[in-house]
Amino acid sequence: MDLITPQIGLIFWTTLSFLILMFLLKKLAWAPILGAVKTRESSIKDALEAAENARKEMATLQADNDRVLKEARAERDEMLKEARDIKATIVSDAKNSAKEEADKMIASAKAVIENEKAAAVSELKSSVGALSVQIAEKVLKAELKDSDKQNAYISEMLKDVKLN
């Protein structure tokens, strides 16, 4: 029966000891330990969150980079195309103007040649005329040395005149 009869003395000392222990441990052990653990847990949580945010930011940055790069590439293509177009225009313009110029030059050269040719022809004509007159003069002179022949020629000429 002793075994299961509570004794006031031990109950008193147990209560006192336990309360003192709980008070001291609460102040000196549980508060700092649990506080430190809580701080650590929240710092780990914060660090994880920060890492997650950084990862997200990184992804956004990457996407931005990609977009910018894409835009730059598109712009470059645009510029190249424009440049190509400008080049084509310039080249064709130059071609056109060169052709015009050439045509003009050819035309003027042709005109000069034509003029020269006409001048040469007219000169040749006049020289040929003068020469033929001279030749005719000389031939006539030689032909018409005697009077018979002169008469014959004149009559011949006259014949022609009649026929006209």
């Binding site: 003395g9 031990l10 000392w13 441990l25 000196l28």
Partner: protein, 347 residues
Amino acid sequence: MKTTLKFIITLSAFLATSANLFAGAKSAEQGDKKEFDAVEVIMHHIADAHEFHILDYVDSAGVEHPVSLPLPVILFTDGHLDVFMSSAFDHGHADVVRGNRTYRMDHGHITELGGLHPIDFSITKNVFSMFLSLIIILSIFISVGRTYRKGNVVPKGLASFMEPLVLFVRDDIAVPNIGKKADKFLPYLLTVFFFIWINNLIGLVPFFPGSANLTGNISFTVTLALITFLITNFNGNKDYWKHIFATPGVPVWLAPIMIPVEIMGILAKPIALLIRLFANITAGHIIILSLISLIFIFKSVAIAPVSVGFVLFMNVLELLVAAIQAYIFTLLSALFIGMAVEEHEHH
């Protein structure tokens, strides 16, 4: 594994037969006072004492001298406080006179010969053992606490050993059972866990200053269960009391039956706590002492290896039980507190 099992079975069979012998021996002893009485030895050990018995030695003249640490006796009798060392009783051979009061030690009990009733606040063996545990627990946790107060975020040394235990109580006992309000009760649960555990372990040390059966003492378990009881009921919310005095869904005419049943339920909880701890620890001490007593009952050294083997096995088991009982006490306390502070969903 198989051989170990065989060994244990053989030993169990052996022990079963020895139990009969033990019973026979006991009746034979009654004639001869000098015979070894295992029951007396065990009961003496299990009970509290006013001195811390260390050993006995027999001098050359054949006289037995007990060697023990005398502990202070504090008695409150009829308005007088009497304090003296238990050695004044000379192991029960002498009476102590203080004023008009004469005290006699009779089988561990102090009586007043004049018919007064002294209230015994002595620092007994168990109280001594408890003070020892206070010193151990405080030195462990104050040093651990200091590590953290210095601003160390990463635990080192002793702290790295104790922190998982503290977190175990928090994350596996307090939070799952109490929930959001766990932080408020955590100092109590942590203290009770380590208080019971360390005292269980001190009780397992087979020689001075261990071996006191403090956690297997009903006064100790009554006190702790009472603290849990008070915490539970002082923190019980409206739903908790409503459940006791007007159980939802039960017709009013059943109240005369329901209310006593619920009140019995309130009382049964701490009683379950105190009996479980008391019975487990006391049983452990009794088994180990019984096994050791076998050697003296048989008066044979040959039985010693068997006893020692069993005691070793039991001690290892008791190491486990020491932790498990601390865990269960804390877990059930958390459970009872959790039931009292739980926020019920209103249907």
